[in-house]
């Protein structure tokens, strides 16, 4: 029994280091024209036929407070279940007209109840509130686990990308950026910059 577990651990270690050996990272800056800052853009690797990856396990939260969605943009991988919470002093009714969100409507609620939705289609999901039209937030459902969101300066970093050739795309609520093709080496960093306009 003990031997098996040791062997298993060794195998796991070998696997992890092997993965590390053949994984690179993508970094760069996204400039978002016409926006207050460069934050909230989602950079992701488009899916190609050969890609396989496990289903996501994390269940990130989208909150509502002071008549705002928090965070304003939540990037998730396809298949992710998102928890919707209301930490506001008034009731909200979240819904989306976006096909990637299956046009869900979570109904009206206030208080501690947590509602969920599983996002099985990739793409933009705009979040709206039936009671407060000015509320707007986004969930971007990325097709692969390789995605990152820019900080206010526009910097992003996608780690542990297996070596290979990919198309990298950007989503932003403020416009479009031209997709770029990159080759990720077995080790090292590739810099890719984008302009959203």
């Amino acid at each position: 029994m003990r031997i098996i577990s040791i062997a298993f651990s060794i195998a796991l270690l070998v696997l992890i280091s092997a993965l590390n050996l053949v994984a690179g990272e993508i970094t760069g800056t996204v400039t978002v024209k016409g926006a207050a800052d460069n934050g909230g853009a989602v950079v992701y690797i488009a899916k190609n036929k050969d890609m396989k990856f496990p289903a996501p396990v994390q269940e990130p939260a989208m909150n509502q407070k002071n008549l705002k969605f928090a965070p304003h943009v939540l990037p998730v991988m396809v298949g992710t279940t998102v928890k919707f919470k209301n930490n506001d002093k008034v009731a909200h009714n979240i819904f989306t007209p976006s096909p990637a969100g299956d046009m869900f409507n979570l109904g009206t609620w206030k208080g501690d109840q947590v509602k969920t939705h599983t996002f099985n289609k990739s793409g933009e999901v705009v979040l709206l509130c039936n009671l407060h039209p000015e509320m707007e937030g986004f969930i971007y459902v990325a097709p692969t686990p390789y995605f990152a969101m820019t900080d206010a300066t526009g910097r992003y970093k996608i780690e542990n990308v297996p070596a290979g050739s990919y198309t990298i795309k950007v989503w932003s609520e403020h416009g479009n950026a031209r997709p770029q093709k990159v080759k990720i080496p077995e080790k090292g960093t590739v810099t890719v910059n984008f302009t959203v306009k």
Partner: protein, 565 residues
């Protein structure tokens, strides 16, 4: 032995003590009456709570009380037709007899409306009865919100007055909604221009005292004051300590407010869409026995909606909302939503949430006093009177655009869908000259505009001529509007002259309109940028040009996509 003793102790203190605590002081019971007869259906509520109980046919109630609440408990009772009552009752009190005073029957046509603006005497003046009693003196936030709203501007709106001058005999009904406090003296007979020029409280549009004196609204195509029943009453002076007060009767949506000098009367009608229908449901009754073919434009309409074609709709917002509500399943999250839920709700610029219905007291000692008196409320029980409707901010959050371009050889196909995401009525709504334009444009990498080879074009009423001057007719796109007509072949006629509606493609709530466009992409290289823009206009272009108005264009939504060759 020891174990069983411990177990017994646990059973006694661990289980029975919480049970006793949970039961003690947990309920107040009693009866609500007029002194003799029971009052059924009255709302009994602990002040500022969000839940309440209702009295049964014998006027009896059983009110659960949170055991952590301090003693005695402020219990309030409200029922339409009665002044709200207030008592301080001990927890666990049984058989309390709560007696309500009736709101006097009748209506005083010589009643003088209360000025909404804060008075110089502030609350002190109001309390002493010497100064003028005004709403804004104490309800500072409510006044500030209302003052900026279109409700405060209905009488002096220049666009309304410009059309008023041209409206001929039909104009005698305008004041019924636009200056209702004056028109109530002579419904269908009041000169709006004269009211607008004379000043005084009647010029303040739809103001606090006017709405809070409304007892009932009859849902009808008739305008404003012709649908209303009032309780315009004043109560006689009474002494309160050293001060003489003149209580102000006001109907409201809360059963749990009792603050002298106000004498509040609970009236749930104020929280219902029917209340708004008074002005936001209005049509023209065709002369003689004429009718129009409403089925040609509204095939699903019930004969009752337009009275078999006798009524040509103008302000039809209430009915648009009602049709939508009736189409929803019982478990739809939007079922039961009223106008007030969206148009009298919090917006980000009002935060932090206010917790007080009474905010100001005009300064000094009175301010200190009122701060002690006022009650902290859950913000969801406060209804900010901002009445956001077709404001820029609201318009920018009401529609959703989805753009899907696809390039096959030299043919660029563009699917655009427009969804009315947040309005509980059609989009646009209101009077017949509101309209909305969807503009779709495709440009190549050099900025050259691609020619349209298929799909809809913007209609003539969006203005013929230079697009730089807001004339968009003929461009790729869609015009959303309700098109009126008369019997001489004219379209877009003012609603007071319309004998029919010939088209209505305005967006129904939560429904999307999908349109397909085709562009010629033969000479393009690199990439094509496709843009879709949705614009709201207060009036048709021709009308704006006639009166020298700007069209009030608001970009509601825009989106773009890039297609690479």
């Amino acid at each position: 032995m020891k174990k069983s003793l411990l177990l017994s102790l646990f059973l006694i203190f661990g289980i029975s003590v919480p049970l006793i605590l949970a039961q003690s002081n947990a309920v107040i019971t009693g009866r609500v009456s007029d002194g003799i007869l029971p009052i059924a259906g009255a709302r009994v509520i602990i002040q500022a709570d969000t839940a309440w109980v209702t009295t049964d046919s014998q006027g009896r109630f059983r009110l659960p009380v949170d055991r952590y609440r301090s003693n005695p408990v402020p219990v309030m009772v409200g029922k339409k037709g009665w002044f709200n009552g207030s008592w301080r009752l001990e927890k666990g009190r049984r058989n309390a007899e709560l007696i309500l005073a009736p709101v006097p029957q009748g209506d005083n046509p010589h009643y003088r409306w209360i000025d909404p603006a804060p008075s110089s005497g502030g609350m002190m003046g109001t309390m002493m009865g010497g100064g003028s009693q005004t709403c804004g003196s104490c309800h500072e936030n409510y006044y500030d919100w209302w003052k900026e709203s279109s409700m405060a501007k209905t009488t002096r709106n220049q666009r309304v007055l410009d059309q008023y001058k041209d409206a001929g005999a039909a104009r005698k009904i305008c004041a019924d909604c636009h200056a209702p406090a004056a028109a109530v003296q002579a419904p269908g007979q009041t000169d709006l221009l004269k009211v607008a020029q004379q000043g005084g409280v009647e010029t303040e549009g739809v103001f606090c005292d006017f709405c809070h004196k409304i007892k009932d609204v009859k849902v009808s195509f008739k305008p404003g004051v012709q649908t209303l029943k009032f309780s315009r009453i004043e109560r006689p002076s009474r002494r309160l300590g050293m001060m003489s007060t003149r209580p102000v009767m006001a109907y409201g949506s809360l059963a749990d407010v009792v603050t002298p000098p106000m004498a509040a009367g609970f009236n749930p009608a104020l929280s219902k869409s029917e209340f708004c229908s008074s002005c936001h449901l209005n049509g023209r009754e065709l002369p003689g026995k004429k009718t129009w073919d409403y089925k040609a434009v509204y095939p699903d309409a019930s004969p009752e909606e337009f009275q078999n074609g006798r009524i040509v709709p103008n302000q039809w917002t209430y009915r648009e909302w009602k049709n939508w509500q009736e189409s929803l399943a019982a478990n739809d999250p939007n079922k039961g939503q009223q106008c007030q839920d969206c148009h009298m709700n919090w917006t980000q610029d009002m935060l932090p949430y206010d917790k007080y219905i009474v905010r100001s007291a005009g300064g000094g000692m009175m301010n200190i006093m009122i701060r002690r008196l006022r009650v902290r409320r859950d913000p969801s029980t406060i209804h900010p009177h901002k009445f956001e409707g077709a404001t820029v901010k609201r318009l920018q959050n009401t529609a959703f655009l989805l753009l899907r371009p696809s390039l096959q050889g030299n043919r660029l196909s563009v699917m655009v869908s427009v969804t009315n995401t947040n309005a509980g009525h059609r989009l646009p709504t209101g009077v017949t000259f509101r309209n909305m334009l969807l503009l779709v444009q495709a440009t190549d990498s050099t900025g050259k505009i691609l020619s349209q080879t298929g799909g809809p074009k913007i209609p003539e009423w969006a203005g013929k001529g230079s697009p730089g001057k807001g004339n968009y007719a003929g461009l790729p796109g869609v015009g959303y509007a309700r098109i009126t007509a008369d019997d001489h072949g004219n379209i877009n006629v003012p609603f007071w002259e319309a004998t029919k509606i010939v088209q209505d493609n305005r967006l129904v709530p939560r429904k999307q309109d999908v349109q397909n466009f085709v562009f010629n992409a033969a000479k393009t290289r690199n990439y094509i940028t496709v843009k879709a823009t949705l614009i709201y206009r207060k009036s048709f272009k021709k009308m704006a040009d006639k009166y020298g108005w700007d069209t009030g264009d608001v970009v509601m939504e825009k989106t773009s996509k890039v297609v690479y060759k």
